[in-house]
Amino acid sequence: MTTNGREPRSKLPLDGIRVLDITVVWAGPYSTMQLGDWGAEVIRVESTKYFAATTRGQMARPPKEVVEAQARAGGMGYPDNEAGERPWNRSAVFNAHGRNKRSVTIDLTSPEGQEAFERLIAASDGLIENNVPISMEKWGVTYERLSKINPRLIMVRMPAFGLAGPYKNYRTWGNHMEALSGHPLIRAYPNLSPEYAAGGVPADAAGGVGAAFAFTLGLRYRRRTGKGLMIEAPTAENFVPLLGEYVMDYTMNGRVRTQVGNEHWTNAPHNSYRCQGEDRWITVGVWNEEQWRSLCGLMRQENLVEDPRFIDMASRFENRHELDSTIGEWTGTRQPHWLVERLQAAGVPSGVVMNERDALEDRHLHERGFWHSLDHPEAGNYRHVGPAWKASQTPNDTPRRHAPLLGQDNEYVYKTVLGYTDDEYRDLEEKGQIGMDFAPEVP
């Protein structure tokens, strides 16, 4: 295999490993982010002619009403809520998970694009994608074809439900496959309509970790056998085991648990409690008598220790709603950090329900060196999370590179890695395959 164009080896575990990235939305990008964080050269294969919604923002050129709607719905939009001249380079989510990656534009619908793609496959170690299988087939991104070009290729595919089966081309995000897998109905509030159930996408996060793990296993497999590997990692199948105890309760006992909310299987108190301030909360989760006595002492309600309603864990669990109101009265007039400082000093499992500001200001994360500032030429300077773990032999100052502008690494990929001449490069620029802007007709 060719090694031209690779960066000099340093000491990160995946240094010298090149991974092509055809990922969208969140689960796929999170997997290649993990690999990039630990040294892999991740190259996003993108197109100037096709915009994958919810990857570099919702639309290539969103009207201001869409930007405003996004701000209302959760604020994961653009710096200062301004889409800017090239909105695809300013998306908050993309600029977070895009760090340490490169971007090349290749139009997989054209013969020139297919040729460049084949050459790039031959020069790479892996490919990760999380698209609807029908799109991948249309573009010829199948293991059957690519492994002929590069028999040492490690390909990790992350369809929502699988490469075969009735849901093969069923398009969802993490939250919809979680719904189908039973999560939000378990997560829903005990005494409210499931319309109020919480969303969120732990399935995507787990999918990202899983695919990165799968790729790393593939590397080891290749090292030992000399062969490439195809790994099928449907995000839904990867997620269901995270509900393992609920699956087992059903298959062992026929029990169907729904609308559990914050309730524990056996323990109480176990909930979030409102504190002083606007939308401020702490969580408390007591698992033994000592912690319970400490909590009563802090609340100056030692009498509760002897109260028959709360005399042991089973009684507390049965009377958990009364218990929650009692604790809520105590927390309601106090500040969250003040409360947790005292609860922790007394050994009571507790924590502030941290908003983003709390996280960025958190003294523990600061002392652990968790935050890293990074400049982005079209978005500004912001703080990023560091690597997901610490390794004693592997100092890791990630993120090393800002999320790539669309097509930012075209010269590097076409000329240095693939050996295209200046003339060939210019020709592809004229055809619109190589560029740093989405074609004008892309909405």
């Binding site: 995946l14 240094d15 969140w26 919702q58 869409v66 959760g74 994961m76 939009g77 293991y143 990790v156 009735p166 069923y170 969802t172 939250n175 919809h176 039973g182 109905l185 997560r187 319309e195 159930a197 732990p202 996060a205 695919a211 593939g218 497999y221 090292r223 030992r224 590997l229 790994i231 199948e237 990867n238 269901v240 085991p241 995270l242 699956v247 087992m248 309760d249 059903y250 298959t251 062992m252 169907v256 914050n262 299987w265 979030s272 409690y273 989760g285 922790q344 924590g351 329900v353 941290m354 983003e356 500001r357 523990h364 994360l365 002392e367 652990r368 999370v385 997901a388 390794a391 004693s392």
Partner: protein, 412 residues
Amino acid sequence: MMTGTMPLDDVRIIDLTQTTIGPFCTRMLGDYGADVIKIERPGTGDPARTMPPFFNDEPGIERSGLFLFLNTNKRSVTVDLESERGRQIIRQLVENADVLVENFAPGVMGEMGLGYEALTEVNPRIVVTSLSNYGQSGPYHDFAGTEINLYGMGGNMIASGDIDHEPVKTAGRMVNYHAGYVGALATTMSLHATEFLRDGIGEHLDVSVFETATHSIDSRLGRLMGYQHSGNVGTRPGRSAAVASGVFQCADGWFLITGTATFVHLVIKMIGMDELLEQPEWATVAERAKPERIDEFAAYLVPWMLERTKSEVRDACEAYGILGGPMNTIADLLSDPGFESRGYFQEIDHPTTGAIKYPGFHFTIHRDAEDGGPMPARRRAPLLGEHTDEVLSEGLGLSDDEISRLRAERVI
């Protein structure tokens, strides 16, 4: 017997973990071939053995569904870590191991004489993966914490649920499992570096639930950036924060759909109201993004949903390329045609429960037939101490007499 190569089938792991975070990590490594030697306390074993749900709701150390699903593909060896002889056994096992995983409170390994430095004296290439709530260092390293606290701190709990009610956590022990999963990734990467980049020098990995959640379960990462961009902290949305989006009632349950201004035109077509797209209020994306469209469209969507089952709505969403999913129960999941057709759930036999279904593999390694073909079936979770004799005699070369003596002394 297993044929062909699995990625980790030449890797031996000494597993000192218990309850959920660590066992999830070693479960992942075991699924892809590692020989996981699970060290348990004599007599009582992993505390997860005493946690619900229990088979037939009767507690017992071989009856916990939580333990059974977390400990497939492992061997159980009982060793008393409070005795010096027990700790010596661990050091001996480490001599011939590649990885040690533990999730004690920070400092406990050192107190037992099993700290990272001590283990490297026995075996310099050992990778030691330490999993903990808050990490091995820092002001919170000795804080008490349970899953709900960690999700509240590291995840998007503040934005989970309804604005007029309390923030809610993810189900079960998801945040712990997530950290364990990252631990498996970290371990495998470190093994790769130890073997191929560092000439056999191992390392100590520090994986915390707080940081892996912040890093990010639940798209926390995007929100942390979004906050820096806009200054707005996340909060719980109302029931429907975007057009044609949210949980809606159907004839037989509930359905989650995500339209938003970007995709609502597809939802309009799905409910057969194409003519709406010709009205100025619905003709452009900009118009569809206006907040007043949310309630306007709900008036069309709610009755359409009520007349259909969640499975009919799912079929329609797939046909129109709309993001949506039925709000299933676990019973629905186990009979879901998609999972069923792929044979996803695995039947595993066990002396207590008989053959019952477990969640399947997280991902499937497609090996050629000549390399062993489909992945080997999972082995059930071990009975407490089931493999003590075999590991101590074959692994450490202890004689039967010696093993009997250790047993009499309650070391094993």
